[in-house]
């Protein structure tokens, strides 16, 4: 698109802001005037031209460098274009005139104070307008931007553009079928915040040429936009009172780039990049206009600061004394400026390299808008300036300093506090990629395919992999806040328990590497603080800041916790809230808040006795509180199956692992990338809902589960299990990219749930699956037995007659002698405790007293 410029016939006009006698016109202007050689066009003759003054050495101030390409296509360089409002000043519009213009330091253009402009401007204004009136095609020097056309186009855009399909947060509450930006203008007049954010992609769909101009010459085009929008605004709402004139802030230029992709061609163009703020400087007052007073005749003059340099007037214009001008600081004009260091986001980085950083300058009201740690998208103009070794030397370091003048910030993680930021999460997939993923989804065995692509180096454990796969997809988020039940958990939690050395950690590591927002912690090393959040004093600002821990960091991701059993009780207790309510409450150092932690937990636990004891229940084996266990949707046992065929396959798998060639490995990596994209796509764009048929199936399943237990006089399913089933069914539907949960999803959810229960909730004493092992920590039979022992003990004590106190050991021996079943000390203690609870007796040391 940019080559078209050269074909365009252009007449150039030079803005002549400075009056001829002003020797202080910025060098950039002069040099630009000199720059006509790129095209064989006659030098424009304009009163302001003083071609003789080419002594650049005097002000060899840093200039934006030329781009790499030699072609004149890129010979674009910012023009110190007159500020829009000062031009507008001349037009008879009271609304605008009444509103002070505000400097746009972000554009690097410097404005003269209006009253001064009044004297010098009319020349250029009239020249410009008259020429326009003559129907000549005028463009801004060095570009193909015609101010009039550009303005017109933009006004048309504002008046006509509608975005019926817009899903942006900012457009909430606007009528999408009405011109979008006109509504925003109305909003401005109501809210009184004179900033108009314009989505560049809107401009692109409306007028591609205007968009191209905006991207290539932001410094010229944005002021024109400002002008256009102010005219329009005060036309419509002449009575509005604004703090200053409206500023246009374009954002998400489609050329959104990775920081790594920035190259010299982008200099002076409008770019959008994403990254993370790592440092912000203090506020820097930047001089915009220097005020000089002659020491001799008290003549005042103002000098614009051009790119950080003040051209100090050597001669007083009034009395012609040399070197008599002195700077008066408190009458100079300053603007706010802040340096921000932006680091490329970790997701964008190639492996094995360190992240790049870029310097960003925020101006005026954008100062202090972001904090270190924020993930932001910024739109701004990329700048480069040469570095001087020493102000007194002409030699320069042949390196440029680059920075971005920011025009618009957009925090990408801001909304995570409130809800899901669909827009920010949306990974951009190409059409081909989406088609490929959809094709994959249409395959009948997609579920099996994906689960086998998951951690291929880990052998078998098909059901576990399937469970984890469903966890990766997650259920559908439901919001019942209105009916008072709050959010329903959509995340699936999984616990893996089993013998050490059954590659549990490996599975966790794999998942952690697979998901974009995964966290990996070990129960051994992490404290409650490391998991949740802690308050610390920032060494620089001395402010208290909240540092978030693994659980909060993995919001919308998966938190992998290894050695779950090694975690202290204290630490584990924070998980209760996270795993059901999906929030984290913090009350520390005066900071009381509730953070979202919508994280799925994938935990691995080892049995207490280094080997899994098949004679004990899950709870007994891993010694975790049942309150926590019941929050896991699926609990799997990873045991060593002792079976020859399995061994053979395992051996084959492992040996193959060790001698597979590079290509085969390469293939698998491809699979992992596909898997990643597949999950990302499904998570963001598939939101299955229960179908009628599926609901019925779920109800039946639940009723069946409850029935199983009722025969044996125990509860075998709780509403939590039903919720788990729903989540699993939804996740399975997501795997199929289906917007409806159908009965096959429910079938698989049932099957998987049953499999997991079979592994983890089988009562080793009876061989039945007993859900109460997980929900109450004790199987029904165990509870029954406990009761029996307590009763037997009571009987025994009663038979002894009126003895107020008994020896503990004596009683234990008696009970053992009496009972036909073996009674352990634990059981005896438990029975005593049960009786103590009944207020029947108390145990003090080695004596048992009746009450």
């Amino acid at each position: 698109a940019r080559t078209s410029r050269s074909e365009m016939v252009r007449t150039r006009t030079v803005r002549c802001r400075s009056s001829p006698e002003d020797p202080l016109s910025p060098p950039s202007q002069r040099s630009r005037a000199h720059d006509t050689s790129t095209e064989l066009q006659p030098m424009p003759t304009s009163p302001a031209m003083d071609t003789a003054a080419q002594d650049v050495s005097l002000f060899s101030s840093p200039m934006a460098p030329r781009s790499v390409l030699q072609s004149e296509v890129d010979a674009s360089s910012p023009l110190m274009y007159g500020t829009p409002s000062s031009r507008v000043e001349g037009t008879p519009r009271s609304g605008i005139r009444g509103t002070p213009a505000r400097q746009r330091a972000d554009l690097g253009s410097v404005r003269k104070a209006p009253q001064v402009d009044m004297h010098s401007e009319p020349v250029s204004e009239s020249c410009c307008h008259s020429e326009q009136g003559a129907g000549q095609r005028l463009v801004i020097w060095g570009t193909d931007v015609n101010v009039g056309t550009c303005k017109e186009k933009f006004q048309r855009f504002l008046q006509q553009f509608t975005a019926p399909n817009s899903r942006e947060e900012e457009n909430a509450g606007l009528d999408l079928n009405e011109p979008l930006y006109m509504q925003k203008l109305d909003e401005i007049s109501v809210v009184g915040e004179p900033v108009l954010n314009v989505n560049c992609s809107h401009i692109q769909t409306f007028d591609a040429d205007l968009y191209r101009q905006l991207i290539c010459y932001p410094q010229e085009v944005i002021p024109t936009f400002d002008m256009a929008v102010n005219e329009l605004f005060f036309d419509r709402l002449p009575d509005s009172v604004l703090e200053h004139q409206i500023q246009v802030r374009p954002y998400s230029a489609l050329k959104t780039r990775n920081m790594r992709a920035l190259n010299p061609e982008d200099i002076d163009q409008l770019i959008t990049i994403s990254g993370m703020v790592i440092r912000t400087s203090q506020l820097i007052p930047e001089m915009q206009e220097a005020f000089f007073r002659c020491q001799v005749c008290v003549f005042n003059t103002r000098v614009e600061v051009d790119r950080g340099r003040i051209a100090e007037p050597a001669v007083c214009r009034n009395c012609n004394t040399t070197h008599s001008m002195a700077l008066v600081h408190n009458r100079s004009a300053f603007s706010d400026k802040q340096m921000i260091k932006l680091q490329e986001s970790p997701e964008d980085m190639p492996a094995g390299q360190t992240p790049h950083t870029t310097v960003v300058y925020a101006h005026n009201d954008l100062v202090d808008k972001v904090q270190p740690g924020d993930r932001i998208n910024i739109t701004g103009i990329y700048r480069a300036a040469p570095m001087r070794l020493n102000p007194r030397q002409s030699q320069v370091k042949s390196v440029y300093k680059t920075h971005i003048d920011v025009i618009h910030f957009r925090k990408t993680d801001e909304k995570r506090l409130h809800g899901l930021d669909e827009d920010g999460e949306q990974k951009l997939f190409t059409k081909e990629r989406v088609a490929m993923l959809k094709e994959l989804a249409a395959k009948p065995d997609v579920y099996e395919r994906l689960s086998s692509a998951l951690a291929p180096s880990i052998y078998e454990h098909e059901d576990i992999k399937k469970g984890i796969l469903l966890q990766l997809f997650g259920g559908t988020r439901k919001d019942f806040t209105q009916t008072g039940r709050g959010n329903f958990r959509a995340e699936i939690n999984i616990l893996l328990c089993g013998d050490p050395g059954t590659s549990k950690s490996q599975l966790l590591q794999y998942v952690y590497n697979l998901v974009p927002r995964g966290q990996y912690t070990s129960g051994k090393g992490s404290s409650a603080v490391g998991l949740t959040a802690y308050v610390m004093k920032d060494p620089e600002t001395r402010q208290l800041v909240l540092q978030t821990g693994a659980l909060v960091l993995s919001d919308n991701g998966i938190c992998c916790i290894d050695e779950f059993d090694k975690m202290s009780d204290n630490t584990r207790s924070v998980l209760h809230e996270v795993m059901e309510q999906q929030t984290l409450s913090i009350a520390k150092a005066g900071i009381i808040c509730q953070l979202n932690a919508r994280t799925s937990v994938l935990a691995a636990a080892n049995p207490v006795e280094s080997q899994w004891n098949p004679k004990k229940t899950t709870i007994e084996n891993i010694q975790l509180p049942h309150t926590l266990l019941s929050r896991f949707d699926l609990i799997f046992l990873m045991l060593d199956p002792q079976d020859e065929a399995y061994d053979r396959r395992l051996a084959h798998h492992l040996v193959a692992l060790y001698y597979q060639s590079e290509e085969q490995i390469e293939e698998e990596h491809l699979d992992m990338a596909v898997l990643k994209d597949y999950i990302a796509f499904a998570r963001t764009s598939v939101h299955p809902r229960l179908s009628e048929e599926a609901s019925q199936a779920l109800i039946e399943a639940y009723v069946d589960m409850r029935k199983i237990g009722s025969g044996r006089g125990m509860v075998s399913a709780y509403p939590r299990q039903l919720e788990s089933l729903i989540r699993l069914a939804e996740a399975h539907a997501k795997v199929r990219f289906s917007s409806k949960v159908e009965s096959i999803d429910v079938e698989e959810a049932k099957r998987l749930h049953r499999e997991a229960l079979k592994q983890s909730a089988t009562d080793p004493r009876t061989g039945f699956v007993d859900i109460s092992i997980l929900t109450t920590g004790m199987s029904a039979t165990a509870r029954k037995r406990k009761e029996e022992v307590a009763q037997a003990l009571k009987k025994l004590i009663q038979s002894k007659g009126k003895t107020p106190a008994m020896k503990y050991q004596q009683l234990f021996d008696d009970l053992r002698g009496q009972s036909e079943a073996a009674i352990t000390k634990d059981m005896f203690d438990e029975a005593l405790r049960a009786l103590a609870d009944e207020d029947y007796l108390t145990v003090t040391g080695k004596t048992v007293r009746l009450l």
């Binding site: 000199h34 720059d35 650049v56 200039m63 460098p65 030329r66 790499v68 010299p264 200099i267 790592i278 440092r279 400087s281 930047e286 600061v305 950080g308 340099r309 340096m339 970790p346 492996a351 094995g352 360190t354 992240p355 950083t357 870029t358 480069a384 300036a385 040469p386 070794l389 102000p391 030397q393 030699q395 320069v396 370091k397 042949s398 390196v399 440029y400 300093k401 680059t402 920075h403 951690a455 180096s457 050395g501 059954t502 950690s505 490996q506 590591q509 070990s522 090393g525 280094s610 020859e644 395992l650 051996a651 084959h652 492992l654 040996v655 060790y658 001698y659 590079e662 490995i665 698998e668």
Partner: protein, 610 residues
């Protein structure tokens, strides 16, 4: 008359010449690189190029071609520079000049608005000498170097210099001790407090070496093409143009004097200035013409491995005997030590690194300098190594994981930032009872991750970043190590020399230096061999596994098979076989059985350790 070495002495003339010929067609850049590549290929030409590793900086000619054997420690942001620029001098003749491979523009006033200006991009790497490089590796590459040093006035006098060095080191050590600080170089702030004399200005600048007490030049390497191909911690041999223009160093005072209004001035903090523009006399700039990634840094290893293979068996036997003596007559431990020393992460399957073989030598005598001697032996054998005393103080105070310092905008190195195939010797016998603080726990976790996954999570403050590594970890401990390991061998000395120290030095002395060289070649060579398993053996292994599981499923888990496969692989390689034979498999099994039985005996001896 152009001499042979003109391209070494004045490479910029070559660059400028080619640039002038090109008539601004862009392919001159390729030609330059080609030219130097060709030149370096010619019979041993690269040995004529003086090396920054060996020759002190002040002996090197500015703007000459030098080489540097280094590791990429940090990657700075890419920078834009004037690839081509035009200058006006007083006679107002404008000249188009090439800015590539240079830091500073030359001659006259630069015309920033010239249409000839070409802005290009380059990347800066902060490179340090390979951390933990053994003295012998340095010396040998120095000797190779010393044959011809044509372009410098420097007369290599190794002997004398090393004395000087020692002296310097001594004073430095004393200084360090007087401050009671293990890592003086990392404590930038401390330096100015004790010396105002210019003689010590070196110590005020932190050169950011990964290991404490390292010496050697650090270098800012400017990379002009394909910088994405380089990775952090890569070992490189860089050929480039040395730039030491004193004007490059920005003195802070001067900076302050200049106007704060200049936007280019406020972008960097003082710390950042210091790191990114250190004085070139300390951190020279090197404009890369050509870089060769190093797979290993063993100067002895010939490029053609087949010559090594011939006497492999005999060298192995000798090495085994030697190590047996060192390990006080324990032949099994010696066997495992060999396997450990040639282990190498050859591939990764999703998260699983394959081929690593972390060895835990338990039963090392406590409170005797034995581990220290053992480390010295290993240092003699491998090209780079580091001994980490796991004393409580070290664990709690040492920075192991590299951390990003956002103020100075650099990656502050840590002891775990090591190049591939570095031997890390963890001395757990130094560990005493006490409390690990938060840093200590983090360090232990980092070591555990390093051993289990061969990766280090660098701390970027707001997030962590995973860097895969390939480090051979050897743990010496009294009992079983608290860190995970692939294999634990309980040391069982058969000799009991009355004076351990004397005995060990006697063993050392008995070895001829040429013998050592053979061992060194052997260890690096065996590691570089290829390895395959035939289908037939695969079947046999599978059968065997099933068989073993039948007898006693507890004795043979999947993890055991993993280990057995690694042992078999390393065993074959150590014998110079690049495929697994049935015999090799049986031997591996025997070896493992022997080791396990010993561990179990140890358990029953020392009571019931779980």
């Amino acid at each position: 008359m152009p001499t042979v070495h003109d391209w070494i002495n004045n490479p910029l003339a070559v660059v400028d010449g080619l640039f002038a010929q090109s008539n601004s067609s862009p392919d001159w850049e390729k030609k330059v690189v080609e030219y130097f590549k060709e030149k370096l290929k010619l019979n041993d030409a690269h040995t004529w190029v003086p090396s920054l590793n060996d020759v002190p900086l002040y002996y090197l000619k500015p703007n000459s071609l030098v080489k540097f054997r280094c590791m990429v420690q940090d990657m700075f942001d890419p920078e834009f520079f004037m690839g081509v620029y035009e200058t006006n001098d007083l006679t107002s003749n404008s000249k188009v000049k090439c800015g590539k491979y240079k830091d500073i523009t030359v001659g006259g006033q630069v015309d920033f608005n010239s249409r000839n200006t070409v802005t290009s991009e380059r990347q800066t790497f902060y490179c340090v000498p390979i951390p933990g490089e053994s003295q012998w590796a340095k010396e040998i590459s120095f000797i190779c170097q010393a044959r011809v040093v044509p372009s410098t006035s420097y007369v290599p006098n190794r002997h004398k210099r090393s004395y000087e060095e020692d002296d310097e080191m001594d004073t430095e050590n004393k200084l360090r001790q007087s401050h009671g600080n293990t890592e003086p170089k990392r404590q930038e702030t401390e330096a100015p407090s004790h010396d105002s004399s210019s003689a010590h200005c070196t110590s005020s600048l932190d050169l950011n070496f990964p290991l404490p007490g390292e010496k050697g030049p650090a270098c800012l390497v400017k990379v002009y093409e394909d910088w994405d191909g380089f990775k952090l911690n890569d070992m490189l041999e860089v050929f480039g143009i040395l730039s030491v223009d004193p004007a490059l160093s920005v003195i802070a005072d001067e900076r302050e004097a200049s106007s704060l209004l200049d936007p280019t001035e406020v972008t960097e903090t003082v710390e950042e200035q210091r790191v990114h523009s250190p004085p070139p006399s300390l951190v020279p700039r090197l404009h890369m013409l050509y870089a060769q990634p190093l797979v290993h840094n063993n100067p002895l290893l010939p490029s053609n491995l087949s010559s090594v293979l011939g006497e492999l068996a005999s060298v192995r036997a000798e090495l085994h005997t030697y190590l047996t003596h060192v390990l006080m007559g324990d032949s099994l431990a010696a066997e495992y030590l060999i396997l450990h020393l040639i282990s190498n992460v050859y591939s990764r399957r999703d998260v699983l690194p394959l081929g690593k073989f972390t060895l835990n030598l338990s039963g090392c005598p406590h409170s005797s300098p034995y581990t220290e001697h053992l480390y010295k032996v290993i240092q003699q054998l491998v090209p780079s190594s580091y001994r980490l005393c796991m004393s409580l103080h070290n664990m709690n105070n040492q920075r192991m994981v590299p951390r990003k310092d956002y103020t100075a905008n650099r990656l502050v190195s840590g002891t775990l930032q090591l190049a591939n195939n570095t031997s890390l010797f963890l001395d757990e016998t130094q560990l005493e009872q006490g409390q690990l603080d938060a840093t200590g726990v983090r360090n232990i976790t980092a070591l555990g991750n390093l051993i289990s996954w061969q990766k280090v999570d660098y701390d970027f403050n707001y997030h962590q970043m995973e860097f895969p590594c390939n480090i051979n970890v050897l743990i010496t401990s009294e009992g079983r190590s608290l860190l995970p390991s692939d294999s634990q061998v309980n040391l069982r000395p058969t000799l009991n020399p009355p004076n351990l120290e004397e005995y060990l030095s006697a063993v050392q002395v008995a070895q001829v230096p040429s013998q050592f060289n053979k061992y060194r070649i052997y260890l690096s060579g065996a590691r570089a061999l290829n390895y395959t398993i035939s289908d037939e053996i695969t079947k046999a292994v599978e059968e065997d596994f099933v068989e073993m599981r039948k007898d006693d499923p507890q004795s043979m888990s999947a993890e055991d098979l993993h280990r057995l496969l690694v042992v078999a692989r390393l065993l074959s390689l150590s014998h110079g076989q690049n495929t697994l034979s049935r015999d090799g498999w049986m031997k591996a099994k025997q070896l493992e059985a022997l080791r396990i039985s010993r561990t179990q005996q140890q358990k029953s001896l020392s009571g019931n350790e779980p």
